[in-house]
Assembly symmetry: C2
Homo-oligomer: 399 residues x 2
């Protein structure tokens, strides 16, 4: 029997995935499991967007253009122009989710063995895309004491080698909920410019910025127009994760023409998802206000509830719908597993994401978990009650 590949062995298996069988087992036993481990919101997809798919009159579901339907790309241009991101429909390639946009960026810009710097904790799947592309991740640790703000320029400078080709950021951040300020991004711009790096900016949570904070896109950083690659997706914006429609945007024509070759090899992004995504651009402000109000309520409730628990420290996130929280525990992998296998409270338990999966530096995240506030407030209330009880009973409690 032939051997699987080295990169196949290197491919990380996320700590959340490892917990899934335990959650399933708990459910089989009749335990109610509150899922605060996932980025799948319970918010409805805009009705008109779903209707657009239900109203198609295509007789043949054909390949679309490899860069995505031109009607969709043209309309998407308006969406970005309303945000003062001035691009045209040839500056973008519609991708199969934000995932493929990241892969195209790495494949087009980096050689195997090249390095990317990513502030950690970071979206765990960046590791997977890096392994697929043969690229080495160099983490730079953001600290919970600083609410996970951008590490200083000095810290970045220390990590830069001749092999460093790109910095990857996620803004607003998954998993921390941190929103980078314009000033932080300008500091990053200076580093990018000085060392002529690529800046890959994942902004899929753009619509989720709270407390009057405005999102500043890396696309609007002056002086590095040819270095910035924007990663975007409709998954979170319209609660349409399953359509798998994202986009890679850059003003750098050479990157677009290179990425197009990868796009052509895989033929096209999903047609039906593009129909939904195109219609979703007309989603009303009322929809977003309702979603915004819902998340604000959930966030405020959850963060307050967490901070009231003894030994728990939870920064107030300014964006996205996650927070990384410090718990009085010895080992987040053990604790999250224990919650599913050895603990119930009133026949309920909570599934959380161990933060270890979001750090690249070994040993970090052992007393942190990512909590997603993607459930309705009644469920969040019960989940917090369960979590508080679990922390009291957990044998590995540290404080």
């Amino acid at each position: 029997m032939p051997q699987i590949s080295e990169r196949g062995k290197l491919m990380p298996s996320s700590p959340i995935r490892k917990l899934v069988p335990y959650a399933e087992e708990a459910k089989r036993k009749g335990v109610k499991v509150y899922h605060l481990n996932i980025g799948q919101p319970d918010i409805k997809t805009p009705v008109k967007a779903i209707e657009a798919v239900k109203n198609i009159d295509d007789k043949v579901i054909k390949y679309s253009h490899s860069a995505g339907n031109e009607t969709y790309r043209r309309k998407l241009t308006n969406y970005y122009q309303n945000l003062d991101i001035n691009i045209d429909h040839n500056d973008m390639i519609i991708t199969t989710g934000g995932s493929e946009a990241i892969s195209f960026a790495l494949l087009s810009c980096l050689n195997p063995g090249d390095e990317i710097i990513i502030p950690e904790p970071f979206y765990a799947n960046y590791n997977g895309f890096a392994v697929s592309a043969g690229v080495v991740v160099k983490p730079i640790t953001a600290k919970i004491e600083n609410n996970f703000a951008l590490p200083s320029v000095n810290e970045f400078e220390k990590l830069i080698t001749p092999k460093t080709k790109a910095i990857v950021i996620c803004n607003p951040n998954n998993p921390t909920g941190y929103l980078y300020s314009k000033e932080e991004l300008e500091e990053l711009r200076d580093v990018v410019k000085k060392h002529d790096l690529y800046l890959i900016s994942d902004e899929v949570y753009r619509e989720f910025c709270y407390d009057g904070n405005k999102h500043f896109s890396a696309m609007n950083l002056e002086g590095i127009e040819n270095n910035v690659i924007l990663i975007d997706s409709v998954s979170k914006r319209y609660s349409a994760c399953g359509v798998r429609i994202g986009v890679m945007i850059t003003k750098n024509k050479e990157i677009i023409s290179t990425a197009m070759k990868f796009a052509q090899a895989r033929l096209c992004p999903p047609y039906l998802g593009q129909v939904l995504a195109e219609a979703a651009i007309d989603t009303t402000d009322e929809y977003f206000e309702e979603v915004y109000n819902e998340y604000i309520e959930r966030r405020n409730f959850m963060v307050n509830a967490l901070n009231k628990m003894e030994g728990v420290v939870c920064p107030m996130p300014k964006g996205a719908f996650y927070t990384v929280t410090k718990l009085p525990i010895d080992d987040s992998d053990k604790f999250c597993k224990w919650m599913l296998t050895d603990f119930t409270y009133k026949n309920q338990t909570v599934m959380l994401a161990p933060a270890t999966g979001f750090y690249s530096t070994k040993g970090l995240g052992k007393n942190e978990v990512r909590v997603a506030y993607v459930l309705k407030i009644e469920d969040l209330k019960k989940a917090m009650e369960v979590l508080e009880q679990a922390l009291e009973e957990y044998p590995g409690r540290t404080v």
Copy 2:
């Protein structure tokens, strides 16, 4: 401005793509262009499959399982069992088109620098997936004089090195339309077994076998159950190229668990396409008979028309809906471009795919083109008339 990657530069740009702007220009001038260059059939997608999408009652378009919806995988198992391919729903990962299935297979099984042997002419995008995965393609030439039959075992043996990890076949073949016999596949099996290679078998044209010939799947080759990876797709079977739903199947559990890590990193295949593909499994035999009769008529007409032209040699394809045809021309790239830029007949012309793009060996395919019989018979008739005239007028005619 930072440099793009070496693999980005290496990524091939297909000769067909290069012709697209010329075809667009011809159309702008009012010339009718018959597209025999593409694999996009004009056959209708089964009505009930499209209806399934139009009838969804989902309120949230959620992520599906990373391996694809379990209902779809279970139902797909029945489809394969009806073909005597005995697998269960855990032996498969639903992918974003056959394209992603090939990528997962290469990433999971091969290291950068490893070699794959592919009989040429072959589906041009295999080159792209190979470059993405850092894998080296070693072509083995199938000859038009033999109707593009499988090259002999000796020819394979000559190419095998310690770096050879897999053989890739496409059966029925795109671009040649050749259908491998059970005997040919058993010879290949012996090579695969002897050298403990992977056999990656792309069978997306399975439903298109003519003249009473039966398709024999590599999944049913005895003694190499753990070496075979089946690549499949609903694109051609149900004329639903745009849904981007494929599947990677293998009985090798280690490959499945490795590929699952790549599948999890990109979250899931498109949900809406899965709904369509699941419903499509119930497509009636009448649909396939109608499609079959249509293709047989087109093939017979086209191959006969080609062989009647002076200096043209066209093998009779036994499967798929393509043929690679020898023309009395000096250079297929030049000829195909000339047809679009310098020639019209009654204000019409034909777009063909230069065969150079399907050969990895430099210089091959210069007097061959791939012709796809994906247009209705009236259009094919006109296209053949135009092609005959073009061959008479072409300044680079060789005979």
